[in-house]
């Protein structure tokens, strides 16, 4: 395998890491919607922390290795329409994903405050509508990114 082949492998593995983390986050969103157990919410937060690290690797791996490939492979250029579209979708996915992470970090901090105060949580108290919206936009951007990568419109 050539260096370019290895870069492609790392690019694809990064994309898998990205989507795997998205699946993890959606599972946590569904699991914590009606949760009232403060300790369980904090444990879910630890699982989410791991997802946050993996998605960071996924986002940066896809863009770094993707741009490398755009320069390394004959027949592709960074200004190709489908590559520019991919970069825009990546930026939307990353920005909204980051916002979702910040929203759920606030929820986790709230759970930690409840635990410190010894207070129970109400149903829906750990839900974040804005976090769900941001995660939905981020997921949609990633799905469109995958479609763009396969169909390569304009290539």
């Amino acid at each position: 395998m050539s260096l370019t082949d290895w870069i492609l492998v790392l690019h694809v593995l990064s994309a898998f890491a990205l989507v795997a983390s998205m699946v993890l986050f959606w599972t946590l969103v569904v699991a914590t919607r009606k949760l009232t157990d403060v300790d369980a919410r904090i444990t879910y937060g630890r699982v989410g922390d791991l997802g946050g690290r993996i998605i960071g690797v996924g986002f940066f791996g896809t863009i770094i290795f993707g741009i490398w490939l755009a320069f390394a492979k004959d027949g592709y250029a960074i200004w190709d329409a489908w590559i520019i579209a991919a970069i825009i979708l990546w930026a939307i996915g990353g920005a909204t994903g980051g916002r979702a992470g910040a929203e759920y970090q606030k929820v986790l901090e709230h759970a930690q405050e409840l635990k410190a105060a010894g207070r129970p949580a109400q149903p829906g108290e750990f839900r974040s509508s804005s976090g769900e919206l941001m995660l939905a936009i981020s997921s949609l951007a990633i799905l469109l990114l995958l479609i763009d990568m396969i169909w390569k419109p304009g290539a």
Binding site: M1, D5, W6, L8, V9, H11, V12, L13, A15, F16, V19, A20, S21, M22, V23, L24, T27, A31, D37, A40, T43, R46, V47, L50, G51, I54, T62, G66, L69, A70, K73, G75, Y76, I83, A86, L146, I147, M149, I150, W151, K152
Partner: protein, 154 residues
């Protein structure tokens, strides 16, 4: 993923999309289920969630991945090779991982299903630990398949 479809006929795109999308959901389901089972430490809520993630996310992901794989295999003409010509190594690796992985996922789901049923009686955590170990193994094998399918060694 940039070069998955370098110079491919456009009617190969949808089967390839199904294959890759299914594989991503499969890997996501395995990663999520195995992670939640790892963090469970005997907590029934987490054990159930981990198991149901494998059943409701990883298994459908596998089905979509496998349908897409067979479809693109046929479209690319691999099922029509002259006699004496074997499939390339990367393709064989993909099939081995997919078929062995299916068997292991089924075993993991059966063991986990029994484990979840036994949780009401206060047991079953051992079976769910076995499910967790199998899920991590299949995930590792799936990543090897991703390497083989994208890098196409040989």
């Amino acid at each position: 993923m940039s070069l998955l479809a370098a110079h491919r006929p456009t009617d190969w795109n949808f089967p390839l999309f199904l294959h890759v999308f299914g594989a991503m959901i499969l890997v996501g389901g395995l990663f999520t289920g195995a992670t939640i089972l790892t963090f469970a430490r005997g907590d029934v809520r987490f054990l159930r969630l981990g198991y149901w993630t494998l059943l409701a996310v990883a298994l459908p992901g596998y089905v979509v991945m496998r349908i897409g794989a067979q479809w693109i295999y046929s479209r690319e003409g691999w099922d029509d090779l002259p006699s004496g010509v074997d499939d390339p190594t990367w393709l064989v690796t993909g099939f081995i991982v997919a078929d062995a992985g299916a068997l292991l996922v089924l075993i993991a789901l059966i063991l986990g299903g029994i484990g979840v049923r036994r949780l009401k009686g206060g047991s079953g955590t051992g079976l769910l630990k076995a499910t967790m170990v199998i899920a991590w193994l299949v995930l590792a094998a799936a990543l090897v398949a991703v390497w083989a399918m994208s890098g196409k060694p040989g």
